[in-house]
Symmetry: C2
Amino acid sequence: MTGSLRIVGLGPGDEALVTPQVSKALDDATDILGYTPYVARIAPRAGLTLHASDNREELARAKAGLEIAARGGRAVIVSSGDPGVFAMASAVFEAVEGEPQWHDLDIRVLPGITAMLAAAARIGAPLGHDFCAINLSDNLKPWALIEKRLKLAAEADFAIALYNPRSASRPDGFARALDVLKEAGTGDRLIVFARAVSSPQERIEVYRVGDAPAERVDMRTLVIVCNSATRRAGRWLYAPRRVS
Amino acid sequence: MTGSLRIVGLGPGDEALVTPQVSKALDDATDILGYTPYVARIAPRAGLTLHASDNREELARAKAGLEIAARGGRAVIVSSGDPGVFAMASAVFEAVEGEPQWHDLDIRVLPGITAMLAAAARIGAPLGHDFCAINLSDNLKPWALIEKRLKLAAEADFAIALYNPRSASRPDGFARALDVLKEAGTGDRLIVFARAVSSPQERIEVYRVGDAPAERVDMRTLVIVCNSATRRAGRWLYAPRRVS
């Protein structure tokens, strides 16, 4: 029996946003591994083992999936959104790197709808021009690097998607990020708080950076700082295609 | 009859990457509008009118879709990838902005798998850390702005996804972009040329920025300049989660 590992993206929450490629991998799996709330989206069935773990267990989860594949199982590691964007794919290849016996395993990454695309779609087209994506968690990188990137992104006039903006263990980072952006001259830019997009709890709010209420943001929120050219069209926002 | 407009993403090419939400919108449509090669992906059927047009006709196509919806049709405008990333959503809201009678139409943007996510998945996880996306076409923005953004993106050590890197009408822009990146000190960074990802013509090549052959790139190629920390793991590339 030849094992395999698929690292798949479940999209932002709505099952209608899961690609058929990912659905098929889930249907064929012997083992599904992931952070507890993502594994909770998978229906149990005979022949399938679900392995739920905490969100600080990424490397251990990656190794567990690789070991299942090496033993002949069909392992699937699930992420929300896209597995390659601040999610499990990097952890898997980090685990692969030092273990040559895993280099020839049948591994594939199956993309998904990442949060910024789903959020942008709900408000219009704020990512219709050049943009960047920054993970605001400083668990795995220094805060100074986050500040540097925010300043440069503001100077470049990118739209800026902010992932993991605020958590119980990092209550102040998002307010600091807003301060950095204001100091960089973006106070007049539109900013979108998109919470739980595509779920029944969805809530979309639009402010200006200069008066955005940081405490309205949590880990289920994706933030988009619009570029300076972004315009309103009725209830929509969009980044114009043409910039002079 | 209440009309609607859906602006949908077909993903990079493989039908297994089209979301069920988009498939349903296509099935329900009375009219599908888009750039000729994208409309060619739609199977004709009774009751469906296909409207194919040139890729310079974005605003006219947007208006045509809005007019169909205003008359009670179920119009779908198709883009490849995601409609909000260098695609049709911005053009639609540009058309909406000046026409208040269109502000209350039933409009929705349905996201798709954009090219950089599909390309990243095929080579590993080069977008696993902070990144940006830049459209290299200077049809609608000055080249000086592209150069400025490339320099700032290099300084920020973002992974950089380059859309529309090179076309018959812009044969030299990509080589100039590589020169800008080299001058910005990224010559040693890994660079991925991902052509026609998920299609039978798929071709993935990896170079260093300093010796990347610009002429290997065309409009079907998505380029990813990796960040400086990116590592190889067997045949894969990945951006480590941890950066010091």
